[in-house]
Subunit: 242 residues, 6 copies
C-alpha cells in the first residue's frame, strides 16, 4: 500500500495515523543545480528519503512543499524563492491542520540547507502546542557521512550540485542526471556571500560548488541507506516517547 497521503482516502489516512501517529512533510526547493541536474533535486531527494523512512516506520508522507527559501539563486533560471516567514507559515499551518486528526508528530525531511533556520523557528513556535510537535531532519551527521563516502571536499561546508548531491541523485533518479555535463568548480571564497548579502549566483559559473564528476550511484545509495536508517530511528524513537 502507498505511504503517500496524496493517494490515500481520508479513511485510509485515518487508519494509518491511528496505527502510527506521525507524518513526514518533505521540504526542499525548486532551484538551479548546475548543468547536469534538474531544478527539483532538493525535492526529489527529500521525497525519496521520505518514502524510504515511511516504509521503514509506518509514517505517512504528505505532499512536498516544493518551494523553499532560495534567495541566493534568484537570478538563475527556474529558481523560485519564497520568503522565510511564508515558508514558516506553511509549515506551521500544515502541522496545525494535522493536529486535529490525531497526528502527533510532523517530521520535516529537508533537502535544502537554507530552509534550516525556518524549520527551527517552526518547531519552536509549535513546541507548546498541546497535540503536535514538529521535528527537523536534514542529512544527519552530514560531515561524517561525506567524509567516509565522498572523495572531493565540500565547498566551505556547503553541499550544492556537488559529488554528494549528484551521487544521491544517481541512486534515486539516474535518468535525471546528465553526467556528461557534470563539472568541478570551487569558486573563490567570497566575503560578499559569507559576510554580506551577495547571492550565490554571482559566485559560481556552473552553479556547482564542488566536484560533481566524482559522483556515483553506489556512493549515493550507500549514503541514502545511512540517512534512511538514522532518520527512521529518529522517527521511531520520537514516536516511542524516547
Amino acid at each position: 500500500m502507498t505511504v503517500e497521503a496524496k493517494y490515500l482516502s481520508r479513511d485510509a489516512f485515518a487508519e494509518r495515523i491511528a496505527k502510527f501517529p506521525a507524518v513526514i512533510l518533505p521540504l526542499g526547493a525548486t532551484e538551479q543545480h548546475g548543468y547536469h541536474l534538474p531544478l527539483g533535486v532538493d525535492i526529489i531527494l527529500a521525497e525519496a528519503l521520505a518514502t524510504r523512512i515511511a516504509e521503514a516506520t509506518g509514517a505517512t508522507v504528505m505532499p512536498a512543499m516544493p518551494f523553499g527559501y532560495s534567495w541566493v539563486w534568484r537570478d538563475a533560471p527556474g529558481s523560485v524563492t519564497v520568503e522565510a516567514r511564508t515558508l514558516e507559515d506553511v509549515i506551521c499551518q500544515t502541522a496545525e491542520s494535522l493536529a486535529r486528526h490525531g497526528v502527533r508528530h510532523v517530521f520535516l525531511v529537508n533537502g535544502h540547507e537554507a530552509n534550516s533556520a525556518t524549520m527551527k523557528y517552526a518547531a519552536r513556535r509549535l513546541w507548546d502546542h498541546p497535540d503536535i510537535k514538529v521535528w527537523r531532519l536534514f542529512y544527519p551527521n552530514l560531515t561524517a557521512v561525506m567524509a567516509e563516502h565522498c572523495e572531493s571536499p565540500n565547498w566551505h561546508g556547503i553541499v550544492h550540485a556537488c559529488e554528494f548531491e549528484t551521487s544521491l541523485m544517481l541512486a534515486v533518479a539516474p535518468n535525471l542526471v546528465d553526467m556528461e555535463k557534470a563539472v568541478r568548480e570551487y569558486p573563490d571564497r567570497d566575503r560578499g556571500y559569507f559576510q554580506g548579502g551577495r547571492p550565490m549566483g554571482e559566485l559560481s559559473r556552473s552553479g556547482v560548488f564542488g566536484d560533481a564528476t566524482l559522483a556515483t550511484a553506489a556512493k549515493g545509495e550507500a549514503m541514502l541507506e545511512i540517512f534512511t536508517q538514522s532518520m527512521a530511528d529518529a522517527v521511531r524513537e520520537v514516536c516511542a516517547g524516547k
Copy 2:
C-alpha cells in the same frame, strides 16, 4: 521531453522559456474527497490538466503547490488548510521569482474552487508588475460543461467528490478511485454554511456532495478534453497578446 520544471536543468528551463515565456502553476488542495477518492484529487487533476495544456502549448509546468485554503474540511482526516493570505503570498512570491528569468505569464491551473478569491487577489496584486502577469484558470464554463456531460445535478453550485470530479479522476488515475465506495449524498441546504462560517465537514457524512456513483471515465475524458482545449486557447491567446 518533459514539460515539468522539476525535471529540467536550469538551461533546459531557460530554453523553453525563451521559446514560450509562460509557466503553469498547478493549485489545489490536500483534503478529504469521500470514501472513494484520495486526498490529492484537486492536485492530481490540476497536474493532469497542466501537463496536457503544456504539451499543447509549449508552456512549462512548475511543481504544484499542494496545500490550499481548505478551512471547511478542517476536521476531516488528512485535510490541510493554509490561510488565504499565506497562499496568496506563495503565489505572488513564485511569480516574482520567475519574472527575473524571462517568464512573462504565470497560469494558475486550479483544482479547488475555494482558492479562487486568493487567485484573484494575487492576479490583481501583480497586475502592475512590469514583467509578469498572473492568470486564473478553473474549469472554464463549468456549468455548461457539466450540464452536457453529467447526469446528476451538482449541490448548490459546488463540485466536490461528485459525478464530475470522480469522472475526471477515472479518466486521469483510475487506479486511485474505488468505485465500490462511491456514494450519492445531497445534504440539506445549510444556513450555517451558506450564510455563516460552518465547516462543510458538518454537513455531509460521506464527504460527497452529489452523486459519485454515476461517474465514468468516458465522461471524465470528454470533459478533460474540453477543458484542455479551452485553457490551451487561453494560454496561447494571452501569450500572443490577444
Copy 3:
C-alpha cells in the same frame, strides 16, 4: 424609537441587546456607479435594508463601514478601495468588541459583491469564538429574484449600476437617481477581467454593466420586500437557534 446604534445611548443600546442580542453591520463600497447613480449606492442600499430588517426583527443597526474592496474601480473618480485583509480586520474587530456587550450575532448586510470572500473569511475566523457569530447576507436568491423582476439580463452574473441596482435606488432614494443619464451598456466579455487581474474600469465606458434604463421604483420596491423578508427570516431563525 430608532434602530440605529449611532443614535442610542449606551443604556438604550444595552436594553435593545438584552431583548434581542443581534446587530446588523452594513457593508458596501464608495465607488462609481455610472452617470446616473451616486458613489454611495452600495452603502445606501445596505443601510436601507438594514433598517427594514432591524424594524422587522428587533436587531440593532451599527454604523456602516463605508469603504469596501473596490480594486476594480481604482481609476474611477471617487472610488475608494481598502485591502481585503483590512476590511476583514475591521469586521472581526467590530464583532469582537460587541461580543463583550452581550451581542451574540453580527449580521453583515452587504451591498457590494466584491466583499463576499472577505465576509466569508471573517465569519470563519470567528466561528469558534465562544460568544459571537458572524453571518453573511447579500441579496438572497439573487438570480431568481432578478429573473422574476428584471427585464434585462445581467452581465455575466454581475450586478453593477444596472436595472437591478437602479431599481432598488429608485425605491430607496429616488432623489439620488438621475434617470436621464441612465444608459445601457453590455461590454464584451473580457479575458483580462475574468481570468487575469484587469480592473473593471477598463471594460465599461459608462460604468454600467447592463441596462439601467429599464429600472423602475416599483421593481425596486418589490425586490426590496422580498430581500427584507428573507433576511429578516434569517435573522430571526439564527437568533432562535434554528
Copy 4:
C-alpha cells in the same frame, strides 16, 4: 448641491475635485458617551464640522469611518474599537485611492482624541507620496476655546461627554441629547489609566468626565463657529500652497 461624495455621481465628484482638489474624511468613534448622549457623538460632530468646512471651502466630504481606537471603553455597551494599525491602514488606503483621481489633500476631521497618534502616523507615512498629503484637524486651540466658552474645567485635559461635547451636540443635534440624564462626574485621578493600561470604563460610573449639566446650545454653536473658521482657514491655506 450636496458636498457629500456619497450622494455625488462619479462625474459630479470629478468636477468638484477639478475645482478644489481636497476631501475631508471624518473620523471619530462609536463609543459610550454617558447616559445623556448617543454612541455616535464623535462621528456626528465630525460630520457636522466636515459639512460646514466643505460648504465654506469647496472641499468634498467622504463618508465617515465610524469606528476608531476606543480600547478604553471596551466594556461599555455599544463601544467598538479597531486596532490603531487597522485604522491607520484604512486612512492610508483611502488616501491612496483618492490620489489616483486628482485629490491632492485629505483632511482628517476628527471627533475622538484617541485617534490622534494614528492620524499622525498616517500623515507621515504618506508625506513622501508624490500626489497626496494627509492633514490632521482636531478641535484647534481646544484649551483656549474651552477656557473662553465653558464654565467647568475638563478632567486632566480630556474631553468626553462633558460640558464641551454636550454643548456641541446641543448645537448640532439637540434631539439626540437628553439633558435630564446629564450628570457631573470628576473621577479621581487614576494611576492605572494615566501610567498603565487600565480602561477608562473602570474610572467613571456615568461615562462622563466633567460636568455635562452646564452644557448649552449657545456655547456649542459659538465654539463650532470658531472651529469651523479655523479649520476652513487651514483647508484654504493648505490648498493655496501656503
Copy 5:
C-alpha cells in the same frame, strides 16, 4: 551591588526579583539634539533616572532599548527611527519574556516623548496578561516642574535640546555637553508639522527648540530629584498594589 541586569548573573537577577518583582526598561531615542548635545541624550537621561529609581526602590534595570520612534529627525545625521509598531513589539516581547521569571511589573522610563503612544498601546496590549503589567513613566508633571525650574518657555509643549533637557544633561553627564555651542531657537509655529506630516528637521536650523543657553546643572539636578522621587513613588505604590 549593581542594579543593572546586564551585570547580574541569572541567580543574582532571580534573587533581586524575588525580593522586588519589578524591572525598569529605559526607552529613548538615538537622534540629533542640536550642536551642543550628543545623539544619546534621551537614552542617557532615561538610564540615569532608571538607575536612581532602582536604587531607591529595589527594582532592577534592564538594558535600554536605544532606538525609538524618531521619524521627525530622519534627515538629521545619526538619527535612527524604528517604526512605532516595531518598538511596540520589542516592548511587549521583552515584558512577555520577563513574565516567565517572576517579574510582575515592567516600568518603561522614557526620555523621548514621541514614544508615548507606543508605550500606551503596549501597556494596553498586555493589560490582561495573567502575570505582568507594563507601566509608563515620562517626566511626571512635566509642565509644572518646568514652570518652577526653567526660565525659558518651551516651544508649543515640546521639550527638545532646550533649557530643560540641557539642564538634565548638565546634571547627569556634564562632559557630554558643550555649552559653548548651545543656542536659542524658537522656530515659527508650522502647520505642516502640527497638522500634517512634515518632519521636525525642516523647522529648526540648530535642532534646538527653546533656549539651551539658560541651562544649568543645578536646575537639572533639582528636576531630576523631583522626577526620581515621583517615579520611585509610582514604582513602590504599584508594587504595593495601591
Copy 6:
C-alpha cells in the same frame, strides 16, 4: 575622541561619517550565562569588539541592540527574547535610517550565534538598497581560533558560557566574572534540542555548555586580538570596495 555615536553630536557624527562612511551595530542578547557570568555577556563582548574595531578603522559605533533571539533560554531568569522577525525589522530600519546620512555600510558585530539567520536575512533584504549594505561579523574562523587557544572542546559546535566566552569576558570585564562559580558541564546530546524545538534550558543545569573553569584572561585577550584584526580587515576592505 569617542567612537560611540551615543556620545557624539550630530555634527561630530556627520564629520566621522564623511571621513569613513561605516557604522558598527553591536548585536547580542540579554540571557543567562551560567552561575559565573552576567546576563549581558553577548552584548558586552560585542561592544568591546566594536570599540576596538572602530578605533582601528575609523568606523563609528551605534548603541547596541541589547535583545536578541533567545527563545531557548526563555525559562532562565533575566533572559529576554524578541522574535526573529522583530530583530530583523530593528536591524533593517536602523540601516535605512542611517542610509539617509551618508552611511554606506552597517557592520553587525554579533556576540550571540542565534542571531545569525536574522542577520543574513537582513543583509539580503537590503542588498539591493541603492545606498547602504549590511555586513555580518560573528567571531570569524571561530573553530580554528578555538582549536588553537582553548583547551576544552566545545559542545556540538555551540559556544555558551564556556571556556571561550569566559576567557573573552576575563579579558574584557574581569570584575564581572566570578570564577569561583565557574563549572564544567557537558550535557548529553539531546534529540529534542537538535531535531525538535526543545529549549536549551532543559538540557544544562548550570547553563554552561563546556568547561568554563579553564578560562583565562590571556586566552581571551589573544583571541580578541585575532578577531579584532580579522574584523577590522573586513571593515577596511569592504569600505575600500574590495
